[in-house]
Symmetry: D2
Subunit: 308 residues, 4 copies
């Protein structure tokens, strides 16, 4: 397929609609300032082919998209032992809900709701990992230096009462091992990493290639990120839990493993074929990028690529 | 691949374990009487190749597996209009829970929890369909006459207080249009259809062939069941919602769209390749066939076939 | 105190406001037809003094007020053994909620929510009691013939999907012993009893006199309804659970054991002193009579009578 | 009545049972060290008569009993405006539950569950009040110097993850105005006040005397704590919400406004007559003093004093 033409056409069709529906996240000033009328799209194939269009070079706050990479780093280190600390079922509740945690004694449903991602951060901290290690991992994956938006990180920390509630609540059940302030610092910093669509599509490349480093097609021996088995399982988690309480809707309309963030970014995986990153900051009511979701739908309709 | 050898090997390996773990459903006598030590497996490929092993010719109560076929029949008739009556998100709750229904004003989360399947039955009834139409559809799909186990149907009706509660509860919100007794009669009868693994794998064949009739490879013009788009969407719903509150676990460990029933049957779909049916009556705590789940895991490990 | 003057003054002050706020229950035609601009009040003291004002002679549907009398009849028969079937804690949820029932395995929180009253009806039915026995009990208590509004009873039965859901749900947990249709028939008929304020204030008279028959002050040996201990306990249940999810508000603003019904009636008890009945059909959002609640507040402010 | 004899008899009967059932709270070392075999009882009448028996002079951690006094202090200052910040309905859930807070947008059900008491502490802090003011208020009420157990306060702060979760959760809804650390410091310190039964019965004396200072019967002009109306309302809240999810049970078996704490203390009010304080550190499953509850039941049975 002519992927360059496909992403060009999608950007052409959708960019004029950017910001016409939905609302940019406003809970911290640095996110609220992002212009609503942006739209970017990029893809990276298993063969190393890349294509981008629209604002695909403009960096944004990856927010919850980071949860895929922190999950991967924890699976690299401890594998399936992670599941003693966090479940892998859809929650059926909003991303920041405490209700289920109470009836399930502080064990989060999955690593993509906030509570679960905080547990993953606690696991990483217990292994001596820091936000700098996540930045290094992402820089290595995309072959470009990425960084943390310190203003966003500071704002997240200042206003993160709900996440602080989640962490303290889990700690009251014994579900958090390290100091809460340190765990949340790691979590808030990972959410504040900024990247553009090109970088994100490439960094996620291991998810469409059974775990192989996305730059390995450029030659030079690069170790796999995780093995094929765990790669498939990250994809499974993205499909069932990656878009909060819209996972069923994404599976139905798009049919690809996806992970979204309130910065307006979404990554999607076509196993054995390619990874996609789309970005448009205005969110629908569910907290997913309104235009990003449309772009993915258009991509699937045009290419017929879907896991189903 | 040599599918005959694969299913033979799986049956060889697993049949001796049948009944060693889990428990046969006991809520009605006719189900409780089924011997726990049974195991059957069958598959049907998009090319019409079929293979079976173990007790693949022994009929069992398909129970909730029927929900895939009633959903398909309702989508044939009214398409996406169905989603005004039922959602398509995982529930995060047991299959017979009333909790979510209350906070969501009587609209079920998806068509595979009992409440949702009862709404689908109400839709079919409103269209003049009966359980005989479902029997006819299944008979046509597998090219063999299937029937309803009248003893099971009578027992379901006699003991179905929870389903009667669900139906009355939804009716109190205006979510059921027809007479409750008639709706439940259709629902109980569809759950009481009996088929064997060979028949089920074949009947579900349209799910791996973009909706084409499973017997169309035998020649003769047979109309498609549903179009490609809706076929993919039934698969998406099976993957995210087909195994109750174990959908995440199935996606993680097996990675295929599946639908299970308390009779111990499970159907699974490898899109564009094949459909599988496995059966072993002893259920794990989640209500899914313990050995059936192991068989699917073994199949995926052996063949590498998974959507992720 | 000059109770005749007090109730006269309250009726004078409030009757002009009848129907200005709130809404008459409309779920069945016979209730919806009741004119909103009615207001009645009556009281009965432990010495047999009675007073009434406003529409105190106009009969209305007592609805959930009947739960006090069915509870009393079941305590007469089996005493504290009742609490093996139903709890005695406030529910913190609406009167017809199913949520708590699910997490508490089908045992209702208290005998005044619908689920609990249905269990009480099941207990009475198991003892051979009928709605005619409740009618006879109430007729005996107030010394006048009361009856069932058959139109209301028929409508309740026709539209009672939520109550049918509650009964089936409890039956699925083993919480209902008799045939559901028979239990609900008793329940719907007890809710359809019609009485006026004078009759209700007098019939409830045993609650302010340690269980003595309200007409015993007229001479003639009449056995006590229940003993002092159980009488106090019915009062305790009324105060903590008698007005659904407004029990705290009633305790705070009125400070008397009360039981309300969607027909617009409320009975209140001043232990060792008197019983009150008020009626005005327009309900506030919580389902309690808007003007009835104001009348009780005015009575307490004027007399200083409150249990606190 | 001969109250000295009554409390003597109760202590005689119950003290030998102290520690035979239930468990001393162990979540912090200072509480866990308290010997289980203690039992104290004291009362204070509206006329200034006092009586005590058993370990009535041994100080203990008043814990949640302090919520009555902080509520009183906030009502003194802002009256019914308090109810814009906290509700007054029973919760039907455990004292430290977060579930209801989520569906009710961060407004606690009542001032006696932890979340509600934390809001009251926030109100007091906003008015410039400190834990020293609460200590001064209690010292003034009982005419003896009471103090804070600094070891308990430090332990509460160290282990109070659930309360920190509650405070952060409410803050995320805008329900807490001040700095969380300062609010929790006040809350943890008020819970760590230590008093004995004699002091507590006397300090609570205003609740049985329409708000009059408990020492006013000793002569000398002392201003009322709160007016009659608010006093009755504190009593109403104690009866409906003072013993967590056992309020219905307390109302049923004891029939008096009560407030309990996990230190094993309970205060009870007979309006217009007397206040009682009982203490025994072993708690039943609901977190109320097992023997304290028995003592109150015995007192009511012996004296016939109950609000119903």
């Amino acid at each position: 397929m002519n992927f360059a033409a496909i992403v060009h056409d999608i950007a052409e069709a959708l960019r004029p609609q950017a910001g016409q529906q939905g609302h940019v996240a406003t809970y911290i000033p640095a996110l609220a300032r992002v212009p609503a009328d942006r739209f970017g799209i990029a893809l990276h194939t298993v063969d190393g082919i890349e294509a981008g269009a629209g604002d695909c070079d403009m960096a944004f706050s990856i927010q919850s998209v980071s949860k895929v990479f922190s999950l991967t780093m924890s699976l690299q280190a401890i594998g399936d032992a992670l599941w003693q600390r966090v479940g892998r079922e859809p929650s059926g509740n909003p991303f920041n809900s405490l209700v289920q945690l109470e009836s399930e004694h502080g064990k989060p449903r999955n690593p993509f709701i906030n509570a679960g991602a905080i547990v993953v951060a606690d696991v990483l901290l217990g292994l001596g990992r820091t936000s700098a290690d996540l930045v290094a991992m992402l820089s290595d994956l995309c072959g470009e230096a990425v960084d943390i938006d310190e203003e966003v990180a500071a704002s997240e920390a200042e206003t993160g009462f709900r996440n602080r509630a989640l962490a303290n609540f889990m700690k009251s059940f014994g579900g958090i091992e390290n100091d809460i302030a340190a765990v949340l610092d790691l979590y808030f910093r990972q959410c504040s990493i900024r990247m553009n669509c090109r970088q994100l599509a490439r960094a996620a490349g291991y998810l469409c290639s059974d775990g192989a480093h996305p730059l390995s097609s450029r030659g030079g021996a690069r170790p796999a990120l995780v093995n094929e088995r765990l790669t498939r399982r990250v994809n499974a988690l993205m499909l069932t839990c990656g878009t909060y309480d819209m996972a069923g809707e994404f599976a139905y309309r798009i049919g690809l493993p996806c992970k979204s963030g309130v910065g307006g970014g979404i990554i999607a995986v076509v196993p054995d074929r390619l990874t996609l990153a789309v970005w448009s900051p205005a969110l629908d009511e569910s907290g997913n990028s309104w235009l990003g979701m449309k772009a993915l739908e258009m991509f699937v309709a045009r290419t017929g690529l879907s896991v189903f």
